[in-house]
Amino acid sequence: MNAPAIRADGLTKRFGSRTALQDLTFQVGAGEVFGFLGPNGAGKTTTVRVLGTLVHPTSGSAEVAGVPVSRTTGPELRRRIAIMPEAPGLYLRLTVFDNLEYFAGLHGITRAAASGRIMAALETVGMAARANDMAGSLSKGLRQRAALARTLLSDPQVLFLDEPTSGLDPVATREVRELIEGLRSRGVTVFLTTHRLEEAERLCDRIAIMNRTLRIQGSPDELRRQLFSSAIEVATRGPIDDPNAVLGAVPGVTGWSGVGDGRYTVNVTDPVAVAPVLARAVVGSGADLLRLAEVRHSLEDVYLQLVQEDVEAEE
């Protein structure tokens, strides 16, 4: 991981008697796309607001873009970041250009300098031709893109995107994802909250799953390894005569189970090391080997496993 662009240490936020976040500790490297996943009410938006100095933590500390999160450092921190909330938040009676000019002004950019930046930001999101359209006349996808253009005006070091594809159709979703990939290539650190697991898996270098507390964090592969034991799926033409003698005797195999006619799931310590030996053993037993592959768990499996654990813990 690069030098941290975001660092949270024991971050806790309570609203009255309700705990929104509990003891969050994590780091996001500069230039990383970091996915923040969790069910509704898990505290994702509150985390973004705390890191953006919009709400103040009850305890713990954090640093974003090299600036400590505190009441006094708010303006300085907000100069270095941009936040795109779930709702685009455009002034519907103003044109796209006027909307962006306003926010450029709030960032202290002169009107003369703003014009070029606005058109460059609109070019980036493919909306330069719509600059003079009223924001109220835009589709939801275009509003989302205009809001994304707004976040680019200040050339932020860290960009917080709160559910950026929520409610968008597949085409608009793909366009927003391409924009996020474009930001990664520009070296912007992106903190992305999303419900869409395939989106997180595709876009994010590392992922954290939270449900008030941080449940797990790492790259998608690391999360799978942390939650699920490694396994190899074996398929043969017809059942193996004595599977225990064939599969169980291979070094590195910790267990196996039959899951159908000629199909087995073999738990192993190290799939890469065990797979060739296992293949030779199966073929050596006289069985016709049809397929041998590592069992891949999706991020959805990881997510559901964690959420299920939380549900069971609450019961």
């Binding site: 609203f15 919009l54 009441r71 300085e76 907000r78 002034y91 002004g105 202290g108």
Partner: protein, 252 residues
């Protein structure tokens, strides 16, 4: 002017121009405020008792002081709650803009048109009275102290009105409730102005300057108080001011 204040001012004026309710109110109310006092003063007949003339002119003059008090409350009801209702508040609060800059920009956007309208109405009224009304009424309306009073008090009353309205706007949850509460909050100030317009307190130039100085101090204090009341956390959630005890209380 500070770039961020100018940006807020420009955006607010653009939005008001495209808001039919605001434009309609800014046109309709001044017309009513102009026509009624002119009709009242112009229909005073020669030989009317001096006390009665004073009462009619006093009521008419009071009307023109109501303009800078009431018009900003119509506009500023939208200032904070309106932003929250249309979901624009969070992106704005995510920028480096300071509370006092945001509020000052919003206040100027409400005060500037209100003052312009108030001056224009008073000028039109004074010219009409001089052209047509009886000499006793002209004498009362064209007292220098009344012009000095209008010149000084219109911006200061507007500012007072806007800070009260903004104070209510940052705490209220509904635009109409904010507008109604703001109107109610103006009543004590209207009572004070009535003392001068009805000549219960002699409206001299000296009194106008002293009153204006006091109001200016109140306005500056109100700006600071409202800036302190403006709590990002409370505006985005229903909670606020819950930082750790060791956090500095002064805010950017």
């Amino acid at each position: 002017m500070n770039l961020r204040v100018a940006a807020v001012l420009r955006k607010e004026l653009r939005e008001y121009r495209r808001n039919k309710f605001v434009v309609g109110t800014m046109i309709t109310l001044p017309v009513i405020f102009l026509v009624i006092p002119i009709v009242n003063v112009l229909t005073i007949r020669p030989g009317t008792d001096v006390g009665a003339v004073k009462a009619v002119v006093g009521a008419a003059n009071l009307t023109f002081f109501l303009v800078p008090l009431i018009l900003p409350t119509v506009i500023s009801g939208y200032a904070v709650i309106g932003e929250r209702e249309q979901g624009t508040l969070e992106p704005v609060l995510s920028t480096p803009v300071l509370e006092r800059e945001l509020l000052l920009g919003k206040a100027l956007a409400a005060v500037i048109p209100s003052i312009g309208i108030a001056y224009a109405l008073f000028l039109a009224y004074s010219v009409a009275v001089r052209a047509v009304a009886i000499p006793e009424a002209v004498h009362l309306v064209w007292e220098p102290a009344r012009f000095v009073g209008m010149a000084l008090f219109a911006p200061l009353l507007s500012a007072f009105s806007i800070w009260v309205s903004l104070a209510i706007s940052v705490r209220a949850n509904d635009v109409r409730v904010a507008q109604q509460l703001s109107g109610l909050a103006m009543l004590p100030m209207i009572g004070l102005i009535a003392l001068f317009t009805f000549s219960i307190v002699a409206p001299t130039v000296g009194v106008a300057f002293v009153g204006a100085a006091v109001l200016a101090v109140i306005d500056v204090a109100a700006w600071r108080v409202v800036s302190t009341m403006f709590d990002r956390e409370r505006l985005l959630t229903r909670y606020g001011r819950s930082g750790p005890a060791d956090w500095p209380s002064n805010r950017g």
